[in-house]
């Protein structure tokens, strides 16, 4: 909950290994100054995503400048949308889900966030990668 001058990044994958590996790449390539949260897998440890885990990851990465979420497949996006809807109303407007590949998007978004960019600029940078 501490104030941070950098947008936070959240990684939501169906696989806890993919989520952790993507977070490792962000940490090693961009560094530790960007608030980062990640989660993967369902509550039983299998493949899937879980709203409660996503909420926790958003909380870990929270920044008053906002949080950009990177997701992999379908359920990761719908569960992330559900998690955003469950946030306190004053937080909801500060969270976006990026339409970008999860690994590349996370590294690009974190690099942009590192420089102090706005949430909208962070999202645009991640989404620049997607085919137009």
């Amino acid at each position: 909950m501490q104030a941070n001058d950098k947008v936070g990044i959240v990684i939501v994958s169906h696989s806890s290994d993919v989520a952790r590996g993507t977070a490792d790449m962000v940490r090693q390539m961009v560094g530790g100054d960007v608030p980062l949260g990640f989660c993967g897998g369902n509550p039983d440890g299998g493949l899937g995503t879980d709203v409660a885990k996503i909420l926790k990851a958003i909380d870990e990465a929270w920044s008053d400048k906002g949080v950009a979420i990177l997701v992999d497949l379908g359920g990761a996006e719908t569960n992330s949308e559900m998690a955003v809807e469950m946030l306190a109303p004053e937080r909801q407007g500060k969270v976006v889900i990026c339409n970008a590949p999860i690994v590349e998007g996370a590294v690009m978004a974190a690099t942009e966030a590192w420089g102090g960019a706005s949430l909208e600029d962070v999202r645009r940078t991640a989404e620049e990668l997607s085919p137009q």
Partner: protein, 100 residues
Amino acid sequence: MNNWKSSSVVIRHAVGLHARPSVKLTKLAKTFAGAVQIAESPDGPWIDAKSIVKVMAMKAKQDSTLYLRASGGDAATALDALVTLVERNCDEDRAHAASG
């Protein structure tokens, strides 16, 4: 913005300006107030060195020359720092040694 200072440096790193060096170059470029641009030819096209997506998409190769230009009050400092970073192989030798 058209009062550019220019420099150039040869990329010696074995894999060129790949993912990790691109992030380092972009992060460094972002620390300067003025515009910083890079190109593979002295005639351009010039791309924004503060844009990670554009720098990574450039895929500058080993032994190619990277042209840099910067504007603003800290232009000279910016060029100096960026050239030094590329000359140091973006500190990748150490990173590679560490990762075996």
